[in-house]
Symmetry: C2
Subunit: 457 residues, 2 copies
């Protein structure tokens, strides 16, 4: 990045973030005579600002920021960016310029996807942190990049700074990955960790996550699993060469999980996490996103707060894992910058995996799974008999009935664990059960996936 | 890899290892018209056999094995390798051939280092799993490869299948890593896990590791820390651009750790692991390898058996981790194959880090560290007073004295924890203390590194 020294004053916000410390890993210089890689930034939000600040504080000679494209430029403009950077709200101006790479940090499916397509068609490589746009249009954008001999990179779209996509694509290229399982949404992990550690209610934990800046005003994409599902689509594209519609994954919300569920999970030797799971299935991808019981001995149980983790079960290497800070401006900017540096160095991507994943369906895994079902009832005789009959009608066997000493007779929680059963049968049984009149709260069913162990969790 | 179908009988050992499972990630085809990448294998031991078996079971069209070089070829030859492969004990024949890549799996500093040099001088790229040869000659081999426009890759030399080097070099290229900490030796981790879990003595745990094939007949390189130190040298070369003599790291053996140490560590909220730590220091690398108290809440404490883990503390991304199976033929072959596939795809390495690390010194970290010192004494009056005086003479303050109920008066264990103190002062005090006559066993001192938290542990 070419920096105007007169702008690099000690009082700049960029300098305030600097932590020069004892590190001086030398940057590779661009080959003498070669000009630096020129890039334009679309979107100057949290990640874009973190990226530019990191380059102001710690210039990389192989990179040069040329344009910042944002709506309402006069409002967005800050004094600490290099003086050579051109601010504009006109994408066409950038596409007509000699920039090598467009960094898309706008977010959302539209117009970001169209803009990335336009960039590739104009001969610019693309780096993005936009999981939704890649989850929708990734195969087409990858094919377009490949046809033009350009790069299309999106490491920042999954796992923040954690190089999950690169680890699957390059690091495990020599293995055949059988399944992946991860905690891919920092908001859900922070909420569930908070309930687990403090006994807060779901609403209190959500409020705390909002106060910490870990949950958005409308957190439904996170809570319902759509955010993790988009990331799962990207991971499957890289890891299995198959791209599922992000809206196709079976998803369950974490809303409704209460402190009492952590008590019962603990009695079962488990805790609760929002898990994303996927494996290749017959011509498709089988997987799901939602709250699940996770063994306390699993590494998943030891990932707290907004951290992310991905575990890959290989055919040769039983278990390989990647974890770290999964969100936030500075960590996400690390992944964007790593992608930019790779392009600047002349690296070619998709070296070890299929460049263009094939579109396929996402399906519920066909094999039966154990389940945890928590009830809160107004106590009366015959409840267990009624429930057992409803499950028996679907040929579902009860594994155990757990009941902690009751607090109030009017709201009596207890848990039934079920032997492995097909998901449709479970849903039919729960539908029948839901019509019973003894519920004080709706029943909550959680997966108890045995196959997490296969995935190395 | 070109495979002779007549050799791929179902009764081959390769077929027996096959696990086709539900995975069919399509391999990238070599560009039409392009010939596959041709490679020769030096050394047909555990890793070499696992590599060839994996290619027999799961051919990669972009790779073709041409030669297997081994001493005493007639003894080593197996019937299940492709018929097109030429067996030889003559390296010169391979260097004169048209192979693109030499895969060095002989191990040891000599002659492997000289052979890799010869390969690069003959215009062949090199892939190796040889940590010792790279720890000694890595910068020279990297410089030679760079000068010739060749690849020199060694992901398999550290962490088995876990892409630690790639993660540091490429994945975290956009950050500045401040420190790394890892469990890099599966033998030590298996022994310490065994003592922790079963209460076995050190000798019993070592015997169990031998029975499981996790410890060699002479495990001293593992126990004394030389194996982990070589890996630490490689990680620092990639992560910090500095290469330390592998023999220069301060190392402490794990021999002498007893079940009682896990009891006291537990009272301190910790467990014990063989840790490797490094950070850039003033013109050098500061670090060490040896047994250390690790907080029970740390992910390091949840890595058991022969698994490895690496944690990197970044300036922007607080903590990023990589873990998995750190040893064994098949996992190590995964990393070798990943490197081969990257070369076959035309990827260029060192894209995001310095290609040739600078040689530097390894030093003991200068800042004071807390310490755990365990004594086993024949009880008599005045022992604590004597010890306290010896520490006081070096201006070392006692933090706490811990004593579990004694078992036998004749062999009384207790622990003193020390406030942060300089390592030379500690060693002088322990030297004085070692001459006291009340010891039933030599005192054991362990690091209690607070900076593991900085490194994200």
């Amino acid at each position: 990045m070419s920096v105007d020294p007169s702008r690099q004053s000690g009082s700049s916000p960029g300098a305030a973030l600097a932590d020069p410390g004892p590190v001086d890993r030398p940057s590779p210089r661009p080959p003498s005579g070669a000009r630096p890689c020129r890039f334009a930034l679309l979107g100057f939000g949290t990640v874009g600002q973190a990226l530019v600040r990191s380059l102001v504080d710690d210039p990389r000679p192989e990179l040069q920021l040329t344009h910042i494209v944002n709506r309402d430029v006069s409002r967005k403009r800050v004094p600490w960016t290099p003086g050579t950077v051109r601010w504009t709200d006109d994408l066409a101006e950038v596409l007509d310029s000699d920039v090598d790479v467009i960094v898309e940090l706008i977010g959302g499916v539209d117009p970001a996807g169209a803009w990335m397509r336009a960039a590739l068609e104009a001969g610019k490589s693309v780096v993005t942190a936009n999981k939704q746009a890649v989850a929708h249009a990734g195969p087409e954008l990858a094919a377009l990049a490949r046809a033009r001999g350009l790069e299309f990179r999106f490491e920042a779209a999954v796992g923040g700074a954690v190089p999950m996509l690169g680890g699957l694509r390059d690091g495990l290229a020599g293995d055949r990955v059988r399944a992946i399982v991860g905690l891919l949404n920092g908001t859900c992990n922070a909420i569930l960790s908070c309930i687990e550690r403090t006994g807060a209610s779901f609403e209190e934990a959500l409020g705390e996550a909002r106060r910490l800046g870990l949950a958005e005003a409308d957190p439904s994409d996170d809570l319902e699993g759509r955010d993790a599902a988009a990331k799962l689509t990207l991971l499957c594209g890289v890891g299995f060469g198959r791209h599922a519609d992000p809206g196709g994954w079976p998803c369950q919300s974490i809303a409704g999980i209460e402190p009492v569920d952590f008590i019962y999970a603990g009695r079962l030797g488990c805790t609760i996490r929002q898990v994303a799971y996927a494996e290749p299935a017959d011509g498709a991808l089988a997987g799901w996103v939602g709250p699940a019981l996770v063994p306390a001995s699993s590494l998943l149980a030891h990932v707290h707060g907004s951290r992310n983790i991905l575990l890959a079960a290989g055919t040769a290497a039983a278990q390989t894992g990647f974890f770290g800070v999964g969100a936030g401006g500075r960590p996400t900017a690390v992944a964007v910058l790593s992608d930019l540096l790779a392009i600047a160095s002349g690296a070619r991507q998709s070296c070890c995996g299929p460049a263009i994943p094939a579109r396929t369906r996402a399906i519920e895994p066909p094999r039966p799974q154990r389940r945890y079902v928590r009830f809160v009832v107004r106590d009366q005789p015959g409840i267990i008999a009624t429930l057992a009959a409803a499950f028996a009608a679907e040929e579902i066997s009860l594994e155990a009935v757990l009941q902690e000493p009751p607090v109030r007779q009017a709201e009596l929680p207890f848990v039934i664990t079920l032997d492995p059963c097909p998901t449709p049968a479970l849903h039919r049984a729960l539908d029948v059960i839901g019509h019973c009149r003894f519920h004080a709260k709706p029943p909550l069913s959680l997966r108890m996936p045995d196959d997490l162990e296969d995935a190395g969790a």
